[in-house]
Structure formats: structure tokens, C-alpha cells
Subunit: 345 residues, 2 copies
Amino acid sequence: MEKNSAASSCEEIVRNQQVILRERVRGSPKEADMEVRDGSAKLKVEDGSSGAMWVKNLYLSCEPKTRHLMDTIRPSSPITGFGVARVVDSANPKFEKGDLVWGITGWEEYSLISPSETFFKIEHTDVPLSYYNGLLGMPGLSAYVGFIELCSPKKGESVYISTAAGAVGQLVGQFAKLLGCYVVGSAGSQEKVDLLKNKFSFDDAFNYKEEPDLDAALKRYFPEGIDIYFENVGGKMLDAVLLNMKSHGRIAACGMTSQYNLDQPEGIHNLVNLVLKQVRMEGFLVSSYYHLYPKFLETVLPHIKQGKIAYVEDIVEGLEKGPAALVGLFSGRNVGKQVIVVSRE
Amino acid sequence: MEKNSAASSCEEIVRNQQVILRERVRGSPKEADMEVRDGSAKLKVEDGSSGAMWVKNLYLSCEPKTRHLMDTIRPSSPITGFGVARVVDSANPKFEKGDLVWGITGWEEYSLISPSETFFKIEHTDVPLSYYNGLLGMPGLSAYVGFIELCSPKKGESVYISTAAGAVGQLVGQFAKLLGCYVVGSAGSQEKVDLLKNKFSFDDAFNYKEEPDLDAALKRYFPEGIDIYFENVGGKMLDAVLLNMKSHGRIAACGMTSQYNLDQPEGIHNLVNLVLKQVRMEGFLVSSYYHLYPKFLETVLPHIKQGKIAYVEDIVEGLEKGPAALVGLFSGRNVGKQVIVVSRE
């Protein structure tokens, strides 16, 4: 009560640069779909906005979900997505001014966070804060849930990961190596392939764009078949994988990025292999697994601190570079987790 | 030892009518792919054929698997498939002369069963023996495994079954009703639809051939979506179902009969819904679940004896009618489980 009664007397009005959605996006996002413009913000939670909070955005995540979220906001609103932020005013009993948090925020300098939005308080600050956009955020939890919880990997099993150099894929591969699996990943450039082999310790990796026959490529890397496929792309890759699954194989479907921007998704022709090979394929949304976040952190933080998990970020400085970074994501321009720095405080 | 030493002195040579595979089948089987001809058999297990047995076939099952098995046998050999038989000579320590058994046998009057073939001894004979081709055989176990074990149904959930009037589908529907689910099935004729509603107590049923828009049909029967889909057909039906699954839905893929005989399977376009709706889709082969057969029998026999499970067979008399029955299966001619009577003893 004290906080709110004081609000009217010391309002702070600040510039609030924003990345605005111009109009509904069709297919892959283009820079012209977005506009960077200056607004302003009064950084006080209004009386009666029970549970809301104002945050100063520090790091924004640029990921396939950002594209999905574009379909859920009204034109002329800011783009939304995961970000790391500092609370500047709070009527939310779970957070107070000064807390570092992460959750879904706006592509702007300051955001008013509604009480219905799930935010996580950042307790461990002895790792780079931007990691909470990736390794220690949704991509990390996605890798953990999809691979560990859904696929129950066992030592010695063969694991294939598409979009392996992406934020989720690179972690799945490293979790798999820590568990003693044989791990091969694919990516869309030689630079990423080198990263997978040299930085992330994959057993092998290949550039799918240079493989005219994906089935043949998979047979080369997995002559005895694939136990676990971590699915990020869908389309022709999934069709080729289905031909190469081992009996009782498992597929965690985290995303099908090759399909999101098509008017008519490609047909998958080899699904009968799910029956013939007794394969389990399970789609998941990380938002259903928030309750596993503490368990995930407990598992992964020691590995990070012992230097057993490598992590690569592709960092652009400045909110105004956000639109180009998002567009680049869909052409595979980024190497590692794409992060936009709004402020280093 | 005694048995074998006696063999040479009392050999029994009998006529053995057989349904022979003429040549490798392309697509759906045609009657011309098969030939009924007379052979002969000496109903004694030869010295040294450790573990083999001769059986007299009584009832043969006609099912999609019969088509698959055609690809695994050499031309000029008899068709193979599940059947109920009586042991007439045995060197298999698990079975003795006179035992009633079921397992994969030949489409012929008498078959020599190799010791590597899995056979089940029939202990309960107070139900029709032909049931061991269906309700109490592989189709029954398939329904149990796919629905109960893989989909973990809960009271009040919405269940959709394609090829619902088939041997497996009719049982899945009845298991679902016993558990308190809402159950809708589809089939390919009005006669089958009536059977589903009147005989098998489905909540509703429709003729998919009369539905120009399967998505619209499913939305009509499942305005709030489908929790569990028991998949028997694949193709366009699966694509429509994917649009109508509820969040955290489950699909047990028992077969994709619409696809087996196509040179190029149809494309499935809506698989991204596995991710968006967090659906688990799992293929299975009943042969991996033989260990559950006793548990299954224990569950289902009381229901049968209490008249709580209805079962419909489409019985043709005589091995020579086998080819037409098998061809009819793929055009949906049969109503209920297709059985061929070889001998009523």
C-alpha cells in the first residue's frame, strides 16, 4: 500500500524503444513486418493492477517461438518473447524491485508484465545472465524434458539431433554425451558442423544442405539405426529419419521449424515405420513442464560450473538489431543461441 | 524317444489341401495370386526335428498381417497366418498330442510347426475355439496392449477408433465403454455402422466413405476433441484426426491398412499438431507383448463369460474359400472378424 500511495508523487517517465509488429506476418518474418520506434513508459504499477510488475529488459531471446507469438499479438503491439529482465516496480507478491527474473516479456526497453505471465526468479548469478535465455532457460529445459524425460536415454544408445547447433540441439547433444550415448547432429553450414564436432563434442556431424539423399546420409552415420531422434525440423528430414529408426526407438518432437512458415506443410510418407519399428513419437511444449525447472537447474548447474557443458551465443547489441536477428534465424544465419542485448545495465 | 522309434512303423500319410502363394504379390492381394491345390503330409515329426510339431488346422485367421506375411514366404509355399489347431504329433516339450493351440500356422489342412514359432496352448475351451483367432488371440491382445497399456485411458475420455468394426477395433471400443469412455468409431458401410451402435454399444459411429470432409465429421462427433485415437488406417484419416486431438492426447498406431498396398504412401501433413497439442503417438507390434497374454486373458475372460463383450465373426467354411476371403478383407467386404474354417474336427 505504501508503495502505491507513493506512486503518484514520484512518477518516472522514460523513453521506451520498442520493436512493433506492423501487420500480421505471412510465412517467414521479414524486416518490413517490424518497426523500431520510440514510445514512453511510466515505470510504476498503477493502483489496482494487482500482481503486475514493470521490468527493465536486459537480454531478449530470438527463437522459433518468437515467430509463433507474432500470431498471438495485435498489430501495433511490441513483439513478445523470452527475456531476462530486472524488476523496477512490482505489485506481484513473488517478485520485488531489484529482482532478476526471466519469462515472456516485450521487445522493448521496459515492459509491464501481467500477473498471469509465468516468471522465474534468477537465483544463481555466477553464470552469465544471458544464459537464462538459453542454456538455463526454456531451450535448456526443453532439451532436458524432451531428451531425458521423454526419451529415457540409455548409455550406448544412438542419438540423432536435427538443428543440432541451435540453442536446444547443442544441449541435447551434450546431455547425450554426458550419458555415454553416440551422438550425431546435422546443421546447415560447415561452420556449425565444425562447432558441433569441435566445441560440443558430438561424435559426428553433417551439413544437411550438402546431402542430396538424407536417407543415405543417415545410413552412413547410423548403419545400425537411430535409437533416439530429437526432432526440431519436420519435413523431409523426419521422413528420412523414420526410415532409419531402430526398433523401440523414441522421437521427441520439440518443433518442426521447416514447416511453420509453409502454407501447406510437406507430407510425411514414412509414418508406417512407427508401427513396423514400434517407435514412440511425442510432441511437447516446455510450458507443460515448468515444474521440472528446479530439478533441471540442479542437474545442469554443476556441469556448467565444472566446464562440462559448452554453450555458444550469437549476441547482437541493441534492440534495433532485433528484427534482422529474427529474420536471420529462419535463414540459419545465426551460430549458436541468438540473443539480443537491450541493456547491460 | 519311444515316440520317434515307433514313427517309421506307423506312418500316416494324408491328403493336405493347401493355399499356395503363386508369386510375389504387388499391392492388394488378388485371388489369382493364390492357388488351392492338394498335397500330402506324413504326420510324424522326423527323427532329429527337435522341438517341431505337426498340427491339424481348425480355424484360420484372415487379417492385414496375412498380407504382410505374404512378403516373407517364397512363392509355391503355403500362405501363413494365425490359426487355431490341434497337435497331432509333437517333439516340442511344451505341447503334446491332442493339445489345442494357436499361433502362426499354414493355410493348409496340416502344418509342420518349427520349434522357433511361438504357440500358445488353449486352456479355456468353454468359449468358441475360433475366438482364439480374434477376441482371445492376437487381435484381442492388440486391442488390450494398444488401448490399455499404451494409452492409459481414463473414465470420461473421448476415444475414436478407425476400422472400428474390425477384429481389433470392436474390442477397443468395448474396452473403452467398460472403462466409462465416450466412444465413436468409423467403418466403411452402413451395416458396420449399425453393428457398432447396436451390437458393440459405441456411443456413435459413422461411415467414413460418406464423409467428404473427415475433419468436419470428426468435429461433429468430437466438438471438444479426441483424447485417444486408436489408429488402424493411416492416410487421410490420420491427417484429419491430427487436427482434432486434444492437448496431451494419445495415439496408438496398431496399423495403417490404407497405406500398406500403395507404392508411395500418402503424405501426412498435420503432424505438427503432435507438437502443438503435445500428443504421444506410439506404434506397436503385438509380438512384443506376448508376456501380457495371461494378464489380458485374466481381464477379458470374465467379461466374455458375463456377456459384457460382444463379438462378431464373419466365418467362411472351407480352406478353398480362403483366397476370396483375404481379397475381400482389403475391400472391406467382411463384417466382423474374418475366419476360415478348415475343419470343425
